[in-house]
């Protein structure tokens, strides 16, 4: 019966709003008289809604940052040639400026954005639809964004001036068919899209110091987004008569010029500000999508916008967990138009973007999440989309170059022995994905490796190692490597441990790479335990419970059995678990040993009512009881990297990410003592640079470990811990003073050349560096390049000890060739910078990283270096795929001497018998392979080869005579410079 209606093309056109006006009127007449047609319309409307939603939910890609930058650059070129245009645009901007500066009570900070505007302000238009019910309609993608946002914001303590996070998100606001709305009769609903345009410039919260390196973000191409003059906009589409409160219809079918956009939105801002009232906003429960982690704000008091300077939302956050919502749905489907009856108060017009929000927006940009979404929703449609909780990474803004003037000559940071970022990066690369930039913390990549530093002498907890060489990615610069090697504790000598495993057994841990891996990892660790050690197991899911009371390490079977019996299910209550784990640890406190809670989780704490900051406070408190907290992240898809790192940091422990059995073995077996024994805590490094040698310096990595210079000597300031055998490496890229001066001169000259009213100067202005405050010692400039200072406390001490070590400029430049450790550190740093697409990467490429890694001859007993070399190659493949280039096979370019040195395998072999070129063996043996004994004869087309020890160093085999007999005759530290016998030509 009704089926035939669906053959009518007009029906489709009507539902899609494509009927011409006259036909539309006719069709609507038919509708009046034909209820079945109306039913067909409803059905089709529903169906098309579903189609639209589903199609829009398809994964969306983004351009790469480079591609975007190129476009923006091309646009700027276009601008330059069109500077005469758009007087009206300027007028509009001017108008907005007025509005902005009129915003009441708004503190304005000097903006450092390179556009040079003096004021920074972001204003969000206020919706004042006094009587209209506003329905928020979920965008399919939004929950993802939102949950990330909420998580990210939760990571840091929220400052009072924080704006409500939801403001920075796109959302559809739908004005409900309020019967009491006098201005919109005859129309069932207004559709408004309150989307957010990112505010032009950054407004720092008052508490933020302007000297923070964050201010450099404006130079990032991704930040083009922020360099718009557009203020936050909210516009409302719909039938609003001239008498309606000034929200202007905005069509989304085309992208308007920003000038139009600004003036459009500015009007309502101005008009509405004065009459901001309580707005009844009800949150529409879109099944499975919207309410998830959505901040619902209930407001009651009428706002006083004009006097409120903070400009933030007030109210109660109600985080409805995903699981709960899902459960609700299955029991009772929620009608899309049901309202939760919660009210949202739009209180004040001024919204400050906090650093977190700005960083988050950048992060979202990079992760391909749509930050702004202008899409128009045609009809109410069923939401069919899963809420996705993503991974979250705190945004990092890389350290800039700093001129060592005044206190800026001091670079202070807390050490970081975490390695989670490395294994996490490996997970991405292994899955052929380029890791998100913010997941790459370069210091953690660097600290993953051993650099062969000398062990500390005597009772010192660590040795200090400093080396400086030309910077591989910028030859004019120097790269200074500062290394700390923690004292090793032989496994046999280690003190007793009192361990509490705190295992997340919530439902999300079910995956193969989570709980099962946790179990294997813990069993590995238990296998290393002795009878003096104590182990307890606490699990948490919906509730927390002690699975195994503290048990002596000798009862291995019982412990293993308990571990084996762990199973996942239920929700997550991490807080209760942590509490219980600490209690268990304290009950069995070992005075001379190490007391530690080991948390294994996929990172989703779902702490319920308590905020993250409360959790952090609790952990900080517990850390004072000398129980350490180590956190091991497992699995993926749910990893709250930033949160875990932060917690471990507060808990005086370290954070590692376990992506597989191999990594578990590294952490729990190979480096067990380092993982479990803290040899020093609150370790801080302060480097003072001598301005007479150093023009500029930049600390590579450690962005989230920076400390204020004055906190260095302040023992109450928490810093990183170092475990037995752990090592910490920091790299500084240093611009020598003459190079920096030359660069500055050139810049000045460029500027001078552009001066319009100055007579052209033919000779350069005299170059007296105004800030040359060369340190003078005994009437001469100090020969020192820098001084490294270290502060640390004994594991249970409260007073810090100081180690200082000045480094002569001579001393660093004298070293003839980089040590293997230096090359390796440079390799890892270049790799990290390329992964981050760092603006400071200079000439660093993946090939350079491969080259440097290849040059390094550090031993590789566990295969970690080999794996790193493979990761570089995988990254090259991903990179080639991303950029559409064809990939040249990587051929390491070792000099003959270096190849020979490498083939000698750290002096293992010394008498070379023959080399056999065998390029093709690269595929089978990789760039380097110590093959071992081989009986010779024919190989690779060459006959009568001598038996011996064969080492493959691309592109040749090196055949060595056996070691022992040669060891006595020729013991040279530097490999013999005898040229390898001319390679026999083989085909």
């Amino acid at each position: 019966m009704t089926e035939s209606y669906f053959d009518d093309q007009d029906l489709t056109a009507y539902v899609l709003g494509e009927l011409p006006t006259d036909e539309r009127a006719k069709f609507e007449q038919r509708l009046q008289t034909d209820p079945q047609l109306q039913a067909a319309v409803d059905e089709l409307r529903e169906l098309t809604g579903v189609i639209a939603d589903e199609l829009k939910s398809e994964p969306a890609d983004r351009l790469s940052a480079d591609q975007r930058a190129e476009i923006t650059a091309a646009e700027s070129a276009a601008v330059a040639s069109a500077s005469a245009q758009s007087a009206s645009a300027q007028a509009a901007t001017a108008k907005v400026d007025t509005v902005l500066s009129d915003s009441p009570g708004q503190k304005q900070f000097p903006s450092r954005s390179k556009t040079g505007r003096g004021v920074a302000a972001v204003v969000l238009a206020t919706v004042t639809l006094v009587t209209a019910g506003i329905l928020l309609q979920g965008d399919p993608k939004k929950p993802t964004v939102q949950s990330n946002l909420v998580a990210a914001l939760d990571d840091s303590e929220r400052k009072p001036s924080d704006a409500n996070p939801d403001l920075s998100l796109p959302m559809f606001v739908k004005l409900g068919a309020a019967t009491s709305n006098p201005v919109a009769p005859g129309r069932d609903e207004l559709i408004a899209e309150a989307y957010k345009k990112r505010g032009g410039e950054k407004v720092w919260p008052e508490t933020e110091s302007l000297s923070e390196p964050m201010n450099s973000v404006a130079t990032d191409p991704v930040d083009a987004l922020f360099n718009q003059p557009i203020v936050a906009i909210q516009s409302v589409a719909g039938v609003s008569g001239p008498s309606t409160r000034g929200l202007v219809l905005d069509s989304f079918s085309d992208v308007p010029e920003s000038a139009d956009r600004v003036s459009v939105s500015a009007t309502p801002v101005a008009a509405v500000q004065k009459e901001s009232k309580n707005v009844g906003l009800s949150v529409q429960t879109q099944p499975r999508s919207l309410v998830t982690d959505f901040s619902i704000i209930s407001g009651d008091s009428p706002s006083t916008p004009s006097s409120d300077s903070t400009g933030r939302f007030r109210g109660v956050r109600a985080n409805v967990s995903r699981k709960r919502v899902a459960a609700q749905q299955s029991a009772q489907p929620v009608h899309p138009n049901d309202s939760l009856g919660l009210e949202l108060e739009f209180q004040a017009p001024a919204v400050r973007y906090t650093q977190e929000q700005i960083q988050l927006a950048r992060k979202l940009k990079r992760s391909g999440m749509p930050v702004t979404d202008y899409r128009f929703v045609p009809a109410p449609a069923k939401q069919l989309f899963a809420d996705v909780s993503g991974e979250s990474y705190a945004s990092l803004v890389e350290n800039p170059f700093i001129r060592p003037a005044g206190t800026q000559a001091l670079s202070t940071f807390s050490i970081d022995v975490d390695t989670a970022s490395y294994s996490n990066m490996r997970r991405f690369v292994d899955r052929n994905q380029w890791p998100p930039a913010d997941s790459v913390r370069i210091e953690e990549l660097i600290n993953y490796f051993d650099y062969g530093y000398a062990a500390p002498a005597g009772g010192e907890p660590f040795s200090l190692h400093v080396e400086s060489n030309p910077c591989p990615w910028n030859v004019e610069h120097q790269l200074v490597q500062i290394g700390l090697q923690g004292r090793r504790i032989p496994k046999a000598d280690r003190p007793a441990i009192n361990l509490v495993f705190l295992v997340d057994v919530s439902g999300s841990m079910k995956d193969r790479n989570k709980l099962p891996l946790v179990k294997s990892a813990l069993q590995m660790l238990v296998a290393e335990m002795t009878e003096d050690d104590r182990i307890a197991i606490v699990t948490y899911a919906s509730g927390a419970g002690v699975q195994l009371e503290s048990t002596c390490g000798s009862e291995r079977d019982l412990i293993m059995e308990k571990i084996h019996g762990l199973s996942a299910g239920g929700s997550t209550n991490g807080e209760a678990g942590i509490q219980m784990a600490y209690d268990t640890a304290l009950q069995n406190f070992s005075k001379d040993g190490d007391n530690r809670v080991i948390l294994c989780t996929d990172g989703d704490f779902n702490v319920g009512v308590s905020s993250d900051s409360a959790l952090v406070t609790m952990i900080e408190e517990k850390a004072r009881s000398d129980v350490f907290l180590s956190i091991f992240g497992f699995g993926m898809g749910n990893l709250k990297d930033s949160k875990l790192e932060g917690l471990a940091d507060k808990g005086n422990g370290h954070y590692a990410y376990i992506d597989g059995l191999k990594e578990a073995k590294k952490v729990f077996v190979e480096e067990m003592t380092g993982t479990l024994f803290t040899i020093a805590k609150d370790v801080k490094i302060q480097v003072e640079f001598n301005p007479s040698h150093v023009g500029e310096y930049r600390l590579i990595g450690y962005e989230n470990r920076l400390m204020a210079a004055r906190d260095f000597a302040d023992d109450t300031k928490d810093a990183g811990e170092i475990g037995a055998g752990h090592r910490v490496t920091a790299l500084y890229e240093v611009v020598p003073v003459d190079v920096a001066a030359a660069a500055a001169t050139k810049k000045d000259a460029d500027v001078a050349a552009k001066l319009r009213y100055q007579a052209k100067q033919t000779k350069p202005a005299e170059q007296a560096d105004p800030d040359a405050v060369a340190a003078v010692v005994d009437g001469k400039p100090s020969p020192e390049l820098l001084t490294v200072s270290l502060r640390y406390k004994q594991p249970t001490g409260d007073k810090s000890l100081l180690i200082e070590r000045p480094v002569d400029a001579q001393e660093t430049t004298a070293s003839s060739s980089p040590s293997p450790g230096f090359s390796w550190a440079a390799a890892v740093a270049s790799f990290g910078m390329v992964l981050r697409e760092s603006q400071y990467k200079g000439n660093a490429t993946l090939e350079l990283a491969a080259e440097l890694a290849h040059q390094s001859t550090l031993p590789d007993p566990h295969g970690h270096r080999h794996e790193f070399a493979e990761l570089i190659q995988k990254a090259r493949v991903i990179h080639a795929r991303r950029t559409g280039q064809t990939l040249d096979p990587y051929i390491p370019m070792l000099s003959e001497k270096d190849a020979l040195k490498k083939a000698a395998v750290s002096g293992k072999y010394s008498k070379l018998l023959k080399t056999v070129p065998a390029k093709q063996d690269l595929a089978e043996y990789g760039a380097f392979k110590d093959f071992g004994k081989w009986d010779g004869t024919a190989y690779s087309g060459a006959n009568d080869l001598p038996p011996g020890y064969w080492v493959y160093v691309y592109p040749s085999w090196y055949i060595w005579e056996s070691t022992t007999e040669q060891a006595s005759t020729e013991t040279t530290a530097t490999p013999v410079a005898t040229p390898a016998p001319a390679a026999t030509k083989v085909k």
């Binding site: 829009k56 070129a77 601008v79 032009g200 992208v255 898809g637």
Partner: protein
């Protein structure tokens, strides 16, 4: 005055404009081009080209004519313009490389678009894939217009402009596509 030189304001103005356009269309165009090319990387190149072309177009306009009017020429036609250029470029690339959409490419594309989360994948399979799958099974021409309509929100007329079909024809294709989608959904 207050340290706000006109030129810098101007810069911001327009780079703001391109950012707005990028934010608005980037993802949609990437999806559209990705469908034609079956390759996320090539789609990115094509979309980048499209935007670069847009910049050039603007430059030509403003260089030639009086500024203010030039600014508005593209306005109002931006969406169809972008899609048309993007479509033509995509087809060019596809023709040139004689690349057929292969299973591997599709996989790669999904991989790069889908930020991991196995549970998300499961959910997608569970709830949304039916419709997407059905859309995927439509004839090529219906599939394209339905995507342009629902994914990109173009009107019949704009779609006609992009694809070179008549608006009536577009209406018919969409109607037919929806009809068969409806039928198949009913059957399940």
């Amino acid at each position: 005055m207050a340290g706000c030189p006109e030129s810098s304001k101007q810069d911001q103005q327009v780079s703001g404009w391109i950012s707005v356009a990028l934010d608005r269309f980037e993802s949609d165009l990437l999806r559209y081009a990705g469908r034609i090319l079956g390759d996320a990387d090539r789609a990115r190149d094509v979309v980048q080209d499209t935007f670069l072309q847009l910049c050039r177009e603007k430059q030509n306009e403003s260089g030639g004519g009086s500024g203010a009017s030039g600014q508005n020429t593209l306005n109002g036609k931006l969406a169809p313009w972008l899609y048309t250029v993007c479509r033509n470029r995509s087809l060019d690339v596809k023709r040139k490389e004689k690349r057929m959409t292969t299973a591997v490419d599709e996989q790669l594309m999904e991989q790069s678009g889908d930020q991991d989360a196995p549970d998300r994948k499961a959910e997608l399979v569970e709830t949304t894939s039916k419709m997407l799958q059905l859309v995927g099974e439509l004839p090529e021409n219906q599939r394209e217009v339905i995507r342009l309509k629902f994914q990109s929100g173009l009107t019949y007329r704009q779609i006609a402009e992009v694809t070179g079909l008549s608006a009536t024809n577009v209406g018919f294709l969409i109607h037919t596509g929806i009809k068969s989608l409806r039928k198949q959904m009913k059957d399940h």
